[in-house]
């Protein structure tokens, strides 16, 4: 009916139903950075096993939105529900326990820890520690270069490798939803293509992905649904195939 | 506004007149209280100038206290110079010492600066303790000060106390003060606007050193006996830090309030000096947690009320 690939739900495998369950629901949130009103009445919905993309220029509020979902910021108004549970106001480390993991903007790998230690930090929460070796093997399959460099200090990795490390790290705790914040920043087109292929691979295993991207074309290619933000508001939403180029550009630039 | 300002000015003049006339109508106890208050006020104003306005947390003011006191002792005892001159030289020597260490010290930032200043004072302490000329660790009795009357010392203390407030007030209203305000609000931005940060901070450092040296001279007129362990000890700074924090760092009125409270507390608990310091420490911590701007700072913030405003109107 939708003509879009969606894999079975979760790595543990749960039969693979094709219901459109809403995993994340953001309703009418306002977010302030100190005195600065960053997000205005923002709502969005991410269905399970979807890839949803948030597009917008610099300063549109995309990262603010991501940070709010992850718990770094708190909405002054509105609610965020994850799998039916209210999560606005949770601290980031609590959001992780709920099953939300973030690949932060700028990668932010721990420079003085090795690749392996970085990955281990990804499964710091107690539930994940027992499954560490199993999940680690899967991550190494996904990103073989990480296994190769596992004992190197993460600061010695290239930009693309650090991005892979950041993604791998976020996956270590077997999250249901992964937030990808500007993963193509500072990387060459070939590397970006490579990384997006992995993201698609991750998604086919059932993990829901919420992406933030400045690159319109790439977002439209990768996502099942897109939101276009400008000046802290959602201007447009819809499936990539259904949105006209003209409308997208109007929304992107706030015209 | 003008009317209010002159009312404030009259009030201040009245208070000062009252203090000047104190020996004629008050008990010796209260004269002593105001004497100690004035000395502590002067010292903490100078610490406040550094910490509250220049952003330099110094834990080494005791270096200048020791230098000032010893200069008084050496010049008045060994060279028979008049006391007022000896005290003045104490200030000059303090400034020179400050200038001498400014090159290495100003390369240190933040906590490094704090520990660096403290270490310098400790170095002085050890040097003076091992110096035959000043009587090693046994110290000096400043005999020429014996002949001074209690009231004379009181007036000297009052003079430096008032002078310290005026010095800070006029610095803040001057060009140097503008620079300091700019630095306080936004250091990097002010640098791009041509404020010579190093110069500003250095000048404050020198002024504060000199004043402290002079105040110390008066202080040791009162204490009579000076020895390296206490003269160069961190205890001086401890009290200045607490006074300024509790009173209100970065305000002119802060050290006034803080010094007064300190002296009262100290007198009240004079039997138990450790207890007074303990209480002071506990109050200081509470203040930092609850009202980090101190008493006067919080009052200023909430009520917009300033007695001695350095702001240009």
């Amino acid at each position: 009916m939708y003509g879009i690939e969606r894999g079975s739900r979760g790595l543990s495998g749960n039969g693979g139903s094709i219901g459109v369950n809403s995993l994340l629901r953001v309703q009418n949130i306002d977010v302030f950075y100190g005195d600065f009103h960053a997000l205005w009445d923002v709502s969005l919905e991410v269905e399970e096993a979807f890839v949803v993309s948030i597009i917008g220029a610099n300063g549109a509020g995309k990262s603010t939105l991501m940070n709010t979902i992850a718990g770094v910021l708190s909405p002054s108004k509105g609610t965020i529900e994850f799998h039916g549970k209210r999560i606005n106001g949770l601290m980031p480390y609590q959001a992780v326990a709920e099953g939300i993991s973030m690949v932060p903007e700028g990668r932010r790998v721990f420079p003085r820890l090795t690749v392996l230690e970085n990955l281990e930090m990804g499964c710091y929460i107690h539930k994940a520690r027992q499954k560490k070796d199993k999940v680690l093997r899967k991550i190494y399959e996904l990103f073989p270069i990480l296994e190769e460099r596992r004992n190197q200090l993460s600061s010695t990795l290239s930009g693309g490798e650090q991005q892979m490390l950041a993604i791998g790290r976020a996956l270590m705790c077997e999250p249901r939803l992964v937030l990808f914040d500007e993963i193509s920043l500072g990387l060459s087109p070939l590397v970006i293509k490579n990384i997006y292929q992995r993201v698609k691979q991750i998604n086919t295993e059932g993990i829901t992905a919420l992406l933030v991207e400045q690159d319109i074309q790439r977002s439209l290619k990768a996502a099942h649904k897109v939101y276009i933000m400008q000046s802290g508001r959602i201007r447009l939403e819809g499936r990539p195939g259904e949105l006209s180029s003209e409308n997208i550009h109007k929304a992107y630039f706030g015209l | 506004m003008e009317f209010l300002r002159s009312r404030r000015l009259y009030g201040i003049i009245l208070v000062v007149l009252g203090l000047v006339s104190l020996p004629y109508w008050a008990s010796r106890y209260w004269i002593l209280v105001i004497l100690l208050f004035s000395l502590n006020l002067a010292l903490s104003q100078m610490w406040n100038l550094l910490a509250g306005y220049s952003g330099l947390i110094s834990l080494g003011q005791q270096a200048f206290i020791g230098l000032g006191g010893y200069t008084l002792g050496v010049f008045s005892i060994y060279y028979g110079l008049p006391i007022s001159l000896s005290i003045l030289i104490g200030g000059i020597i303090s400034v020179l010492f400050a200038l001498m260490i400014s090159a290495p010290i100003f390369r240190m930032r933040g906590v490094y600066f704090a520990i660096g200043t403290w270490t310098v004072a400790e170095v002085l302490r050890i040097l003076f303790s091992n110096w035959k000329y000043v009587g090693y660790g046994m110290g000096l009795f400043i005999k020429p000060a014996y002949k001074l009357s209690f009231n004379t010392i009181y007036y000297a203390a009052l003079a430096v106390g008032i002078a310290s407030v005026m010095v800070v007030y006029f610095i803040l209203r001057s060009k140097l003060g503008l620079g300091l305000m700019a630095i306080r609000d936004e250091e990097t931005a002010s640098e791009t606007l041509g404020v010579d940060i190093f110069r500003c901070k250095l000048n404050c450092f020198l002024i504060s050193a000199g004043m402290t040296g002079i105040v110390s001279g008066v202080l040791y007129l009162h204490n009579i006996f000076i020895q390296p362990y206490s003269a160069f000890g961190i205890d001086w700074t401890v009290r200045l830090v607490f006074i300024t924090i509790i009173g209100g760092i970065g305000t002119i009125e802060g050290p006034i309030v803080g010094s007064f409270l300190y002296v009262l507390l100290h007198q009240w608990l004079s039997e138990y000096p450790s207890v007074s310091l303990l209480i002071l420490g506990a109050i200081a911590i509470s203040v930092i947690l609850v009202a980090p701007k101190g008493i006067m700072g919080t009052i200023q913030e909430k009520l917009g009320f300033e007695i001695l405003s350095p702001r240009r109107k």
Binding site: N118, M121, R169 | M108, G116, I126, F242, S274, I288
Partner: protein, 291 residues
């Protein structure tokens, strides 16, 4: 050449051994400074507090002070945890000054509390170790207590190193010190982590306190002396590595005893201070700083 070495063999050996003690004194401060970005001005007083705790423990159980480690370390850890969790965590991120001043306040409170409880008399953790010397062949005699200090310090630092490299908590502490925000995104509750780091640092202060008490006399006011030593060790050795701090301790110890040898015993502390000032002026990040 040989005769110079012979003349210097005592200050060099003693300097190195004492340096070990200085290393464990500085480790706690190095941890807090490197991890929480806080300078604990009360570190020296915490060390002396531990000395007094050991003293108290010994009045109940007349044993070798080293056995009191069993009691003193946990108590110090708890104290450190509470200080961080209840006091210092509140003013994290509000600038460098408030934590500095609170630590200062704590230092004064501790000193005066100890003064009230224990009076200003000099104390020491007397044990037979304190006076014996061990002969090293015909070469020289080493004060046994210095040797014990060195070994305990070395073992402690080695254990600490294992902790940071092999355990989840240790790596989490390192991660939080690299990037607090990213650590939070991993599910690490950084406030609790900082409290554990402080607990650990206070534990090392506990070890240092007992060693100090065995080696020197102490009063309620000796804290600041050890604070400056700790700071000196951290600055000389540089932030970011346990080994660096240990080496910093060795250098400080050497500097002090060589200074005392050439200038006289009154100048032992002075030599240490001068080295500290020199390093502060020219290379504040330390001689062995990492990254």
């Amino acid at each position: 050449m040989l005769s110079i070495l012979n003349e210097l063999k005592v200050p060099i050996t003693n300097g190195l051994l004492l340096g070990g003690l200085y290393g464990i004194i500085g480790i706690g401060m190095s941890m807090i400074f490197g991890i929480v970005r806080l300078v604990n001005l009360a570190h020296g007083d915490l060390i002396i507090l531990a000395s007094y705790l050991s003293l108290v423990a010994m009045t109940f159980f007349p044993v070798n002070p080293l056995f009191t480690l069993i009691v003193v370390i946990p108590v110090m850890c708890i104290i450190g945890f509470i200080i961080q969790y209840c006091l210092l965590n509140r003013i994290l991120g509000k600038g460098m000054n408030p934590p500095l001043l609170i630590a200062f306040g704590l230092s004064i409170i501790l000193q005066n509390l100890l003064l009230l409880i224990f009076t200003p008399d000099a104390r020491t953790l007397l044990t037979s170790i304190s006076v014996k010397t061990i002969p090293l062949g015909n070469f020289l005699n080493i004060p046994l207590v210095y040797l014990v200090d060195f070994i305990v310090a070395l073992v402690s630092i080695a254990l600490l190193s294992r902790f940071f490299n092999r355990t989840y908590m240790g790596k989490a502490i390192r991660a939080a010190s690299d990037d607090e925000g990213a650590a939070q995104l991993m599910g690490i509750n950084t406030k609790t982590i900082y409290a554990f780091a402080m607990a650990l640092a206070s534990g090392t202060a506990g070890i240092a306190g007992i060693l100090v008490g065995m080696t020197f006399t102490f009063y309620p006011h000796t804290g600041p002396e050890y604070l400056i030593i700790a700071f000196g060790v951290v600055i000389i050795g540089g932030l970011g590595s346990l080994l660096g701090t240990f080496l910093g301790g060795l250098i400080l110890g050497l500097a002090q005893l060589l200074g005392a040898h050439f200038l006289g015993p009154g100048f032992q502390l002075l030599s240490g201070y001068l080295i500290l000032l020199i390093v502060l002026t020219f290379k504040p990040t330390g001689l062995f700083a990492k990254g």
